[in-house]
Assembly symmetry: C2
Homo-oligomer: 407 residues x 2
């Protein structure tokens, strides 16, 4: 597997665009297009929130029932959630306009929105935006970057990743972009994610690979415990790499899944580290848990704890909070058997063992917690399962951003 | 039911004290005593966290197995959690010292701690503190207040309540105090709560009344979603009111339960409103839910949402966040049927109905959210059940307090 530059335009046959459409703000890119020259198999995972935004309802239908997908139009600024019939109609009109201009079917167009809930999209500006997107689309790396920038809301950096693998003697490329910063929590976050690949693979296996991988990547991150109404992750495969189609779970499938995992985990960690107001990526790795599910639950409980997050922000080795968050996760364990370590990329120090604080240096622990990437390693000493979750610290800026998000 | 002044010393036969013992800080009260001249029936509810502090383990034994209870010793500053055998031994020594000085049995003494997890209690200072507590105990209202102050950690106000009812021609008094500010979440919070009453009631009914009432009071508040290792709520009844003992669920029992509920809900709301960094009490009332459990889950999801809390702090009528928090609660419903209202004590305005924003004034909504007590009313239009949960807004100060709690 070779990591390469780029994002959604890295794979063969994919084009992208990112433009200013003044959806909510002036002078910032807020509409993106991803287009494939060839029809794509599509797989998707969507928010588990009962309140689903209109574009989520639109896309679920398309992914489930359309014969193929060829374009995605996304906007930032307004989420098109809690917008009733008018909101859904807006998805339809956007797809129809896009289809007309690209010469494809309307049910081959996915739509996605992120931003404030409860406002209607300015449909005229959306339709004008679609025109501009189609005019400016291109297969360059720059075009992919423009698209990645256009879907940002409170994100501070655009998020892209791409890799190449060899399958059946052909080079297969997988690239992706995502956005997400606040309202982020396991079970799909306010995240939009779009992965494009030129692999030839059956729709069933594409969906299975995505659904399985999400559990250990995007569903293992949290910024603030709020699962949004708009979470969407879509993978499009257009087969243009020319490999023999992957239709069984053979070694080619495994290779693809590994590459997809790399893209997903890279994008997921970028989101966690760019959480609203974040000053650090906060990783929790649980090892030797009784089951995979227990490991995931424990890891997510720690990275989701406001008090743990605030401790990281304060560089305060207040290990009791980490132990406490494990304790209320719902997983049963013997606290006397647990070991806690604080780690950064250079160091690992034992903090808690045998039911009591280990003999660590507060200064050294605080230094570790001041790293840009902080890891809490939890050894449960109960079994063989492990899981990792990613979040960020809780800072003044999180509150600042969210107390006044709409204005 | 008559609301009266006072707290744990309001009921007949109860004494209290609050003193400085320099457990962790100088120049602040940090040890409290509650003492009953007559042996008490004891009922208790304790943290559901797997990691239970030593005093929680001690108290659970006492409440379950001791023939009676006559005293409680509590300290703030250090939680005596994650302290292994030494921590438990410390509970035992504290109880023995208290018992010796009061001339009662060691298994009639409850202990409670709140503060930093992972440090050992300074046993010498604890034992000296017990001596001072026993010397200074008194049945005055002031003594109750001193005790309520001594259990505070990051609390900004001490929390007490008391009421009187008539049972069997005798005046029965119920008083209580609690502390709790951070690490507060349903299923018992980092809260210590002590309720004293002179009613004569069977131990079984006392426990049942407490266990039932906690579900709709202390378990319905949240400050930050973190369920602590030390949560303890104890009710002591010494029978000195002289009423015929309540041994069945008759109208006297109902009357007592109502009064206990008043004490619990008053103390719980005080805790929520005094959440770390809080500028407002944030109440969510869910009506017409399909079941009581659904109503509770929905209400707690809203008051637990960081984004809803930040919106209250910012006086931002970003109603989508409230809808979103209902949507990820795990309860199923039709978003088009839900109505949302923002309320304060003077006004109620419709914000969301029929799947879309109602026609409300942003200015008026923002004014309501700027009130010291803000209520979000959620009408599910699905059934007859209702529930209320209490929390607070999320402010810069929450982060400030928790990023640097130990220093």
């Amino acid at each position: 597997m070779k990591v390469i530059e780029g994002g959604v335009t890295a794979a063969q046959g994919f084009e992208a665009a990112g433009i200013e459409a003044a959806i909510k703000y002036q002078n910032r890119k807020d509409m993106a297009l991803v287009y494939s020259k060839a029809p794509c198999k599509a797989a998707g995972v969507f928010t588990s929130n009962v309140v689903k935004a209109a574009p989520v309802r639109w896309d679920r239908e398309i992914v489930a029932h359309s014969p193929y997908v060829q374009a995605v139009v996304a906007n930032s600024g307004i989420a098109n959630a809690a917008t009733g019939k008018q909101g859904y109609e807006c998805c339809k009109q956007t797809a129809e306009q896009t289809a007309k201009l690209l010469g494809i079917a309307a049910d081959a167009v996915l739509v996605a929105s992120t931003g404030v809930i409860g406002s209607q999209l300015p449909i005229d500006r959306i339709l004008a935006g679609v025109e501009k997107l189609v005019e400016t689309k291109s297969d360059t790396t720059e075009a992919g970057t423009l698209a990645a920038e256009a879907i940002m809301t409170t994100d501070t950096i655009s998020k892209q990743a791409a890799v190449q693998i060899e399958i059946g003697g052909r080079t297969v490329t997988i690239g992706g972009m995502c956005k997400g910063s606040g309202m982020i929590h396991p079970n799909m976050c306010t995240m939009l994610g779009f992965v494009t690949t030129d692999i030839a693979i059956s729709k069933e296996l594409l969906q299975e690979a995505l659904s399985e991988d999400v559990v250990d990547t995007f569903n293992m991150i949290s910024v603030d415990g709020d699962t949004s109404t708009n979470d969407t992750l879509v993978v499009l495969s257009n087969g243009m790499a020319g490999n023999p189609e992957v239709t069984t779970k053979n070694s080619d499938y495994d290779k693809f899944k590994e590459a997809l995992h790399y893209i997903n985990v890279t994008l997921a960690k970028m989101m966690a580290g760019d959480g609203e107001g974040a000053t650090a990526l906060f990783e929790t790795k649980v090892v030797h848990a009784e089951s995979k599910q227990a490991a995931r639950t424990l890891a997510r409980s720690v990275i989701g704890s406001s008090l743990c997050k605030a401790a990281i922000y304060g560089h305060d080795a207040n290990f009791g909070r980490f132990l406490c968050a494990l304790g209320y996760s719902g997983v049963n364990f013997d606290p006397d058997k647990v070991e806690l370590y604080f780690e950064n990329k250079d160091k690992s120090i034992l903090i808690y063992k045998g039911g009591v604080a280990a003999d660590y240096s507060e200064e050294e622990a605080s230094q570790i917690l001041a790293s840009p990437e902080v890891r809490v390693l939890v050894d449960m000493h109960m079994g063989d399962a492990e899981a990792t979750a990613w979040g960020c610290d809780l800072s003044y800026d999180y509150v600042k951003i969210n107390a006044d998000y709409r204005s």
